[in-house]
């Protein structure tokens, strides 16, 4: 099967910032992203869990975005503008996709 090179960008970011991040992704021409819930974690700011929580202040979400390699720099620039002041983690992995016309 013919596969095409692409980048899988995974952004773990505070739940309160989800909308700001995805707005900026769309504004920067990203054709799609997927949000995965996160149930807990740990980092320099301590350990946390969503169990029993009502407020949105504590907790992260994972946003996965598969893009063509050429779109990566612009996307990272955009992401960084949101993540900068906030808790967040960005990792980029080489991947391959079918149906490249979508990215």
């Amino acid at each position: 099967m013919l596969m095409h090179e692409a980048k899988r960008v995974e952004i773990i970011i505070e739940a309160v910032m989800e909308d700001r991040l995805t707005d900026i992704l769309i504004d920067n021409g990203v054709t799609g992203y997927t949000v995965l819930p996160v149930s807990g974690g740990s980092g320099r700011s301590g350990r946390w869990s969503r169990d029993g929580q009502v407020g949105r202040a504590q907790g992260m979400v994972a946003v996965v975005c598969v893009v063509g390699p050429d779109r990566l720099p612009a996307l990272l620039e955009a992401v960084l503008s949101v993540v900068e002041r906030h808790i967040g983690l960005v990792n980029v992995t080489d991947t391959q996709v079918i149906r490249a016309e979508r990215f």
Partner: protein, 325 residues
């Protein structure tokens, strides 16, 4: 005095308070007891809807009053002013940085709706029915403190982001919209509407509150365990002093407004309590440099249990002593 002791005692052995205590205890022995996030949110949606609706229905019963508007205006003002008092105490007493002090101040200027609900419930069982519109006062007091706090952060700490987007988020925050919306529905449908859904918003209410407080106890207890580090004695003392200061201020204002004993107590509770749902999220967006553990631990781990166990009976006692012979 005998009355006071018996009131406090009966408060302490109410299922509501004991459920909270159970939650804290379970967290401290590191039990794995926990509520799914969706259930906790579902319980809070129920409580907001029910308390809003009942408040509105009660206003419909009594008709609009001038005092309603005066009390709402007073609540607004108190919510704008309390952060300044809190900020001052946090800087002077607790020695927090300006940014952290501003963030904590926002929480204490705003209100804790569960403390409000618990006080309401205790008042009802003491026969001190408060004004229904106090629910609306609670709703308007959720957000304004954020404004003051961000001004303080900008003025003294050089921080704080404030765009139109942040404002819309704060004003149309889910809990405000649900509380005011349910209040409006209650006010529009009145006693008839209440009769239709009494089996939902009245009969099981106290029990649901118990379950919610159990969950809050779990969250508060786990928060205390994981952020013992941030609670110095100075910070802790703020968690006890601030509600007393807020309640005292509210007491004076409430007397000027001429509220009923129940109404006085509720205004005291609103000023004495600190937000742990709406404001923490707003602070993460607008003041991300502030340490969130500090505000949450103070609001939920210190001030909330203080109000629930000692504060509310105290405020009831104060309000009823003054009210008359």
């Amino acid at each position: 005095m005998a009355d006071a002791v018996s009131l406090a005692a009966s408060n302490l052995v109410s299922p509501i308070v004991l459920s909270f205590v159970l939650g804290v205890a379970a967290a401290l022995v590191r039990s794995d007891l926990s509520f799914p996030e969706a259930i906790a949110k579902g319980l809070s949606l129920y409580l907001l809807f029910a308390i809003g609706f009942k408040g509105g229905a009660s206003v419909a019963g009594h008709g609009p009053e001038l005092r309603l508007f005066a009390t709402i205006a007073a609540g607004l003002l108190l919510s704008l002013l309390l952060p300044f008092l809190a900020f001052f105490l946090l800087r002077a007493l607790a020695r927090l940085s300006p940014i952290d002090a501003a963030a904590v101040a926002a929480h204490y200027g705003s209100i804790s709706i569960v403390t409000f609900v618990a006080a309401n419930t205790l008042l009802a069982s003491s026969g001190l029915e408060p004004e229904g519109y106090m629910v609306a006062v609670a709703a308007v007091m959720e957000a304004p403190a954020i404004l003051s706090a961000l001004w303080l952060a900008a003025r003294f700490g050089g921080g704080g982001e404030m765009g139109p987007k942040v404002w819309r988020e704060i004003l149309f925050n889910g809990s405000i919209v649900l509380l005011m919306g349910a209040f409006a529905i209650g006010a529009l449908t009145g006693e008839k509407g209440l009769a239709e859904i009494r089996g939902f918003v009245v009969d099981p209410f106290k029990g649901v509150l118990c379950l919610f407080l159990l969950d809050m106890g779990l969250v508060a207890g786990r928060g205390l365990l994981s952020s013992r580090g941030v609670l110095t004695v100075r910070v802790l003392s703020f968690g006890f002093l601030m509600p007393l200061a807020g309640a005292a201020l509210a007491f004076v204002v409430a007397q000027l407004l001429g509220l009923s004993v129940g109404g006085v107590v509720l205004l005291m509770v609103l000023c004495a309590s600190a937000s742990y749902i709406a404001v923490p999220a707003a602070m993460r967006v607008a003041l991300p440099e502030a340490n969130p553990a500090l505000s949450l631990t103070l609001a939920l781990g210190v001030t909330f249990p203080f109000n629930l166990t000692v504060g509310i009976p105290l405020y009831i006692l104060a309000a009823s002593s003054f009210a008359g012979p």
